[in-house]
């Protein structure tokens, strides 16, 4: 499907605000918007060396209408300044690396609330793109067997998963829904799977973990919901632009997804060899269940890091679909999974060489 300018809710001269613009995905979103001719972009970033470098690099290449707004989303004033005249807000900034629930919450939910309040006051907003995550899905009681798509339920008790990020993202989605219901906020949720690329070299926890020393391979034959950063960024950009999708959620995964086993095999062949121990699903489920019960019984002597909710989310047998993304947004992956993995492995090799 070829998208025309009149398929979009805004013209190329209208202002788009991108939060988290200097991050791994944010940089690519800005790039995709510029590629589509939307060059009036305000990039919101925390004051940092990275922001300064971002400003410098774009000064050299783009010059004119790219604006960098350095501030803190916890400041209502900064949010007011950033959202002024913005027709579309693409909200990527989140407390991703936070391990504590309050830290993740304040950097995801409170910041989002500040941004939403400011955008309502500004009065110019036509679309709020809430960049969410697969972490919000419960991945149980699905209508279509093992298929996880946008019809699947969101975690009703995110606090029990023991993952601050899951809790914060689920609450962030709830907040956006509430603003849609109460204030008529025009929004779209976009939920990327595992975003990979040169800026994120870690092996996804969906494949396995190193928490206990040796690499425990937990994914087995599961598909890994990969999306190469360029493809994901394009989906996010389209979610901010496409007509007729308000109130919808879109999952972002690429085509031809490898299984966990295939991914691990390729990683060992292309990057480095290491020992891994496959843990069958029945065993990993039993261990998660045991850990959860012990955590409760011991009054948190072991934190509830492993539990049934997390097992369902990460390691339950699951397939993914990008059908809605393709049919409703007109998205197509710009980088094939084969090419994406080649680039990723190359970056990993470079990282290993540096280390």
């Amino acid at each position: 499907m070829t998208l025309e300018q009149n398929d979009f809710i805004i013209g190329q001269d209208e202002l788009i605000l991108v939060t988290g613009a200097t991050g791994f995905i944010g940089r690519q979103v800005v790039r995709r918007l510029l590629d589509r001719g939307f060059n009036r972009i305000r990039c919101f970033a925390r004051p940092s060396a990275k922001a300064a470098e971002f400003v410098a690099s774009h000064r050299q290449t783009d010059g004119s209408r790219l604006e960098v707004f350095q501030g803190n989303l916890l400041s209502a004033d900064d949010c007011g300044g950033a959202t002024r005249d913005a027709a579309v807000i693409i909200h990527l900034a989140a407390g991703r690396g936070e391990k504590s629930f309050p830290d993740a919450f304040i950097n995801s939910v409170v910041t989002t609330r500040n941004l939403l309040d400011a955008s309502l006051r500004s009065g110019s907003l036509r679309r709020f793109v809430n960049v969410s995550s697969f972490a919000v899905y419960t991945n149980t009681d699905k209508a279509q067997g093992n298929l996880l798509d946008e019809t699947c339920g969101v975690e009703p008790h995110p606090e029990v998963r023991g993952e601050a990020y899951c809790f914060a993202k689920t609450k962030q989605d709830e907040l956006v829904n509430e603003y849609g219901r109460l204030h008529g906020l025009p929004y779209v949720h976009i939920r990327p799977g595992v975003v990979y690329g040169a800026g994120n070299l870690a092996i996804s926890g969906r494949v396995g973990i190193r928490t206990f020393g040796p690499f425990l391979h937990l994914g087995g034959s599961n598909q890994i919901p990969l999306t190469y950063v360029d493809n994901c960024a394009d989906a996010i950009a389209l979610a901010g632009l496409r007509k007729g999708i308000d109130g919808e959620a879109f999952n972002v995964v690429d085509d031809d997804l490898p299984s966990s086993r295939q991914f691990l095999h390729l990683y060992k062949r292309e990057v480095k060899r290491f020992r891994s121990l496959y843990v069958p699903k029945l065993v990993s489920y039993a261990l998660c269940n045991l850990w959860e019960r012990y955590s409760v019984w011991s009054e948190g002597q072991l934190p509830p890091a492993f539990n049934r909710s997390r097992w369902n989310s990460l390691w339950r047998k699951t397939y993914y679909s990008n059908r809605k993304l393709k049919t409703r947004l007109g998205w197509q992956p710009v980088i094939s999974t084969r090419e994406g993995l080649n680039r990723y492995f190359e970056a990993c090799r470079a990282g290993e060489a540096r280390a």
């Binding site: 922001a51 019984w297 002597q301």
Partner: protein, 370 residues
Amino acid sequence: MLKVAIVGCGKIADAHVAQIKRIAGCEIVAVCDREPLMARQLSERFQIKAHYSDVATMLRECEPGVVHITTPPESHFELAKLCLNAGSHVYVEKPFTLFAHEAQDLIDLATQRGLKITAGHDDQFSHVTRRMRALVQSGYLGTKIVHMESYYCYEFSDTYAAALLGDKRHWVRRLPGKLLQNIISHGVARTAEFLTSDTPTIVVQGFISDYLKSRGETEIVDELRVMISEEGGPTAFFMFSSQVRPSLHGFRIYGNKNGLVLNQDQETLIRLRGARHTSYVEKFLPPVNLAKQYLGNLRTNLGYFWEREFQMKAGMKCLIESFYRSIEEDGPVPIPYREILLTARIMDAIFAQVATKEISEQKGLSLQTA
């Protein structure tokens, strides 16, 4: 049933709530944060009945017996005063206050009103610290404490470093002692417990590490060496470092007979025998003795784990439990007020000398601080 309230719903509030819920005879009746969403998330996660965004309203409506203040340090003084004036006992997270005179005012106010107050020096109540205290009290060190060494280090996480270093308005930068103020009180309090004078001499060397300098930092002092001495009493050395590896949290105390080495991270306590063995025996027997002691520590720690008493914040539970008991039985507070005040005074002196050195360096002066 003792009614408890929490003011400030950030990271450390989670630890407070988790530990209070393990204590019989008390109930958390409300949580409060000036950011309503933060108060709501805490109450939802821990099934607490009420959440507020105004402290005065919470105090009026819930009438808590005890309030835990877990807000950033600059608000501790005013909030503690408010709670004491409302008739609640108060547990203030560390650092107790920004300045020693504020600490004195709070203790005076609590005393006047017949209430109790404590500081969140919970490391002082960990299993291993209590074992050390019992040994010191039993006279194991001898008739006199001669010297102490307290190490309290901090390893910057990437996210914290990025947030703090990138934000010139970060609340930590507004503290008189900046990063140091938010972290060092645990390590300083360890020495304060055994110092005998209320006015020890403090000599400070503080500087910015090469790591922070390489990231363009010019304000945050993250390396600190402190000598504490007093006429006729013990001496102490305190070190804070963001660069030392392993990132130490430990304490060494030497008497005129024996010594003790405490490792807070590993929760080990080692006795250092003062008397030497004869000749080569000194080179062979002590390692065996040390190995036996480490195995003993392992057995002790496994015992706590088996009994479900080895939570990461077990010391906090013990401190809170002791504080509540002192309220209910009108007994002595778990941390003597003298110790809280001395900790605050030492910290004041440290920050004053670090600031003086910074000013002199900005002016290009050469200054020996003492």
